[in-house]
């Protein structure tokens, strides 16, 4: 059996990749994907622990996260499309009308 730490390290790497991308990328879609990456890093941790401790609540949480992520993806993509239509760019640094 694969030890728990492998899953955790993999989840950590996924999460770190997500964070790094989130902080460095300017393209809004890339940032979006990075968020998904972070969520899935967390999901992996959840299911790893659930498998380890034979507890179902971890699995249930993952479902919740997936549902929320799906909803977010739908709303987020809609927003991105709306932004692109008005601003004609996907660079977040240019989407700064609300900034003083």
């Amino acid at each position: 059996m694969v030890p728990l730490s492998y899953y955790l390290v993999l989840g950590g790497i996924l999460f770190a990749c997500g964070v790094t991308g989130f902080l460095t990328k300017r393209n809004i879609i890339t940032i979006f994907i990075c968020i998904e990456l972070m969520l899935n890093g967390v999901n992996l941790t959840f299911v790893a622990f659930a498998a380890q401790w034979k507890a179902l609540s971890g699995q249930v949480f993952v479902f919740f996260v997936m549902v929320v992520a799906a909803a977010e993806a739908a709303v987020g993509l809609a927003v991105i499309i709306a932004v692109y239509r008005t601003r004609e760019t996907l660079n977040v640094d240019r989407v700064n009308l609300l900034k003083l």
Partner: protein
Amino acid sequence: MTPNLHLWLIPVLPLIGAAINGLFGRRFSRQIVAGLGLSFCGAAFAQALWVTSQFSALSTPQTEMLAQWIRAGDFSVDFAFYLDQLSLVMLLVVTGVGFLIHVYSVGYMWEEGGFYRFFSYLNLFMFFMLTLVLANNYLLMFIGWEGVGLASYLLIGFFFLRDSAASAGKKAFIVNRIGDFGFLIALFLLIKHFGSLNFEQIFRSVVPMTPETAGAGLMTAIGVLLMVGAAGKSAQIPLYVWLPDAMEGPTPVSALIHAATMVTAGVYMVARSHVIFEHAPMALMVVAIIGTLTALFAATIGVCQTDIKRVLAYSTVSQLGYMFMACGVGAFSMGIFHLMTHAFFKGLLFLAAGSVIHAVGGEQDMRRMGGLRTKIPWTFWTMTAATFAIAGFPPFAGFFSKDAILFRAFTSPYGSWVYWAIGVFTAFLTSFYMFRQWFMTFFGEYRGEETAGHDQHSRAGAHAPHGHSGIHESPKVMLIPLVILAILSVCGGWVGSERFDKFLSPVFHPHPFTAFSGPVAPSVPEPKSEGASETVFTLVSVGVALLGFLLAWQLYYRRPGLPQKIAHALDGFYEAVLNKYYVDELYAVLFVKPLVDGSAKLLWHGIDQNVIDATLDSSADGAREVSDTMRHMQSGNIRSYAGWVAAGAALVIGYMVWTGTR
């Protein structure tokens, strides 16, 4: 069965007047303000008269309990008033003379700004003064004591736009504080040792004690400290310096507060505490010595003053010295007798001087007066009565009281020929400077015209721009009080020291609670066996008064050039006296300057600026510098915020992992 005297009304009535005038007086016309001020003061006087009419039927002393004030364990202080012969005399003097001066003020202050303020303060003063004389315990007396100080401060600085008036007010207040400090310590000692501040209770426990003839003890300490308080309020050495400066106030104020009533509070207090003083011969001696020295010292200064009001101020200091001399030799009733006659004639002198100042348009320098006799006859004749009274000519009031004091100073068991000799010499000086003033003001040629163009007459502040042309007699409202006081100055002494002594004897001699008569020093002074008959003393005091008159007549009427020559001959000494022996300068160097420098250099620059302010400033600077570096985190860039969040989270997780693995 004693009727309810409603003593509380006497002080409270003027308080109501003060409140109404003080709060709403600005909107009232002068007539209403004057009417209110006069009627409340007059009502207090009427009430005092009514109490007097009931007095013979009363069993004295009367105590009227109003309310409990402080209760702490066994110690309690009440709002309660106390009426005996002594407070009755004070009551009549304060309300009577006070009312007359109120009337006079209507005329004198009519054209001044702040008319309502003036009457409000005057009424306030009456309230505190009456509280002082009616109190049945030292603490309530202290309230009145402080209150008259406050009213005095407000009224000295009445023309507050003039710098000298404002600082004179402050000086009076601060010098009085020094005296009050002594008074307060005396009160603490009384509380500690007797557990009470009530006059009757204290005196009842003091009476059985043995007098401290051998050495100084508790009674002496209390007595001396009380005298420190009295010296502040009654302008005795070394705290007399405020009174001459207090002449910056309007003249009715000088008459009421700084001659007739407030400054005599110290005498009243010493007389009220006579039981304590009789048990402390050394404290009595201190009182007598201070009084005698002050009488002489102030009289010599008075000789050289040229400001009409300052002559009177030093004369007041000197006469108060007489009163303390009387108290100090155990003749308390004579001190009070002189207090009463002094209230009449000195109040009159001030009011008449005010009338003179009014007449010559604000001039106060006697060198610019002269020849006013025919121009303002009413003022002249009333002032003449007062001058003869203070100089001690029979049958004027001052003769009786001063003569009695001098007689007692010699014959009393506490007395000594030294007090008497200095007293007689002071009487001579008094007569001299008063007649000097009289001649300079009313006789000879008028010397005001040639210097009228100078701006010298701005001393009287708002009085200068009266717009009157020429010298004119004062209005009737000012003259009537003058005449009444003149009558009192003439007749006030006819009651005679014997009868006055007898009237006050229930207060001063056998205490109703002294069933026992132990080794208390005899408070009824037995004449010494030297066989000095009273007639000789009388002749001597009349003689010196006459001498003073003749000298003044010679120097200031017959040969007006002579004083100049004498002044030149006595150059250094004359300078010293003219400058009041440089006492103010001495105090400035000894006390004021070290205090100011100490506060400025040590407390202000040293502690306040370098320690307190510096601490605050540096902590504020530190906070600003830290914030200055921290604010760069707040860049507005979303991703840098996210970075900080991530870094923070990494930090927390790292910490948890680190602690978890240990």
